[in-house]
Symmetry: C2
Subunit: 213 residues, 2 copies
Amino acid sequence: MTLHGYWRSTTTFRVRAALNLKGLAYAWEPVDLLAGAQHAAGFVAMNPAQGVPALVLEDGTVLTQSLAIIAWLDALHPEPRLLPEDPLARARVEALSHVVAMDIHPVNNLRVVDRLHDVFGATQAQARDWMIHWMERGFAAAEAMVAPEATFTLGEAPGMADLCLVAQLYNARRWEMDLAPYPNLRRVEAACHAVPEIAAAHPDTHQTPEAIA
Amino acid sequence: MTLHGYWRSTTTFRVRAALNLKGLAYAWEPVDLLAGAQHAAGFVAMNPAQGVPALVLEDGTVLTQSLAIIAWLDALHPEPRLLPEDPLARARVEALSHVVAMDIHPVNNLRVVDRLHDVFGATQAQARDWMIHWMERGFAAAEAMVAPEATFTLGEAPGMADLCLVAQLYNARRWEMDLAPYPNLRRVEAACHAVPEIAAAHPDTHQTPEAIA
C-alpha cells in the first residue's frame, strides 16, 4: 500500500506511526501541500476532501481521514491494539483523540491559517497567536483527561490518542509554545518518542529534499 | 442517562438523533453556550474540553465528543447499526463523518467565530462568509463521497455520516447557504427528515424558552 502525505502534516504523522506500530510496510508518496499538490485533479479524484493523508491499497481502494484509517488498520491488524475492545475504554480513547483531532487540529490547519492571512490580513505573529490559543485550550482539556498514573495517555501502551498527542506536541514545539503547564502531556510525549516505531514516524525523518536543503 | 447539550448545536443534534434511533430514553439538560455555561466550574469538572454534548450515565460516568458517544451507543445497542461491522465500510462512514466533523464543524464553531470577531474585528457578513466557505469546501467533498444510488449517504438506512450531514445542512440553511450544487446531500437530508427519530431530534424541537419567546 501507498501512503500519500506531507512530511510535516500531523495527521500524516499519526498514520505513519500507526503503520509502523502494526509492522506494516508501505510506499511513501509525498504531497506538497505548500505547492498546492492536494488540489491537483489527480489527487482530488483520489480524495475529494483535498487533504492528507490518503492510504491507497493494492487493489486501488482509497482510505481517507487519519482516524478512520487508523481504526481500519486496528480492525484488520489488531496487534498491538490502538483502540481498546471495551466500548467504554474505546470511547475514552476516541474522546481524547478528538480533543486533538477536532478541537485543535482543524482550526489550526494550513488552509485555515492561509485564510486568516487572505481575508483578515493576519500577520505571522497573529497567525501564531491563533494557533497557540487553540492548542492552549485543547491541551488544558487533554491534560485533565490523561490518566496521571499511566505511562501513555490511558494505559501502558501507545494508542490512537497518544499518536494524536505526540503529533500535536511536535507542532506546538515548532511554534515554540510553552508546554510547562502540561506535565502529563510532556510525559506521554517522551514515552512516545522512546517507542522506536513512533520515533521512526517523526516528521524530521520524512522531510522533503527541498526542506532539508 | 442525561444528555447535556445546546439546542442549536449540530453535535448535540447528532447525538439526540442517535439516541432516538436506538430507542433510548434520556433526560435533557440544556447548556446555554451563548451565556457561557460550558465554562462554569461544574461543567468543566464534567467535561474539561468545555463543549457539548456530554452524556452522563446513571453511575456518573461521563462520555464526551459526539462521534465517540455515537460509536459507544452503537457498540452497546447495535440495532439499528450506525456504523457498519465490516471494517472497510466502517472506514468509509467514518471518513465521510469526519469531512463534516473535522473539516467543517470545528472551523465554524461558535468559539472560533467569536474569536474572529474579537481578534480580527470580523463583521457579521465576514463571519457568515467564513462559515459558508468551509461548508462549500466540505460539502463539495461530501457530495462526491455519497453513493448516488443509495437513499442515505452510503446505504439504505441512516448511519453516523447521515447524522453528521443532516445536522450540518441544518446549519447551512440557518445561514441561507445555496445548496443547489449538492443534490446528493439534499436527497440525504430529505431522507433523514422523513425518519421520525431524526425529525424528533431537530433543533427546532429543543429550543430554549428564551429562543422561542
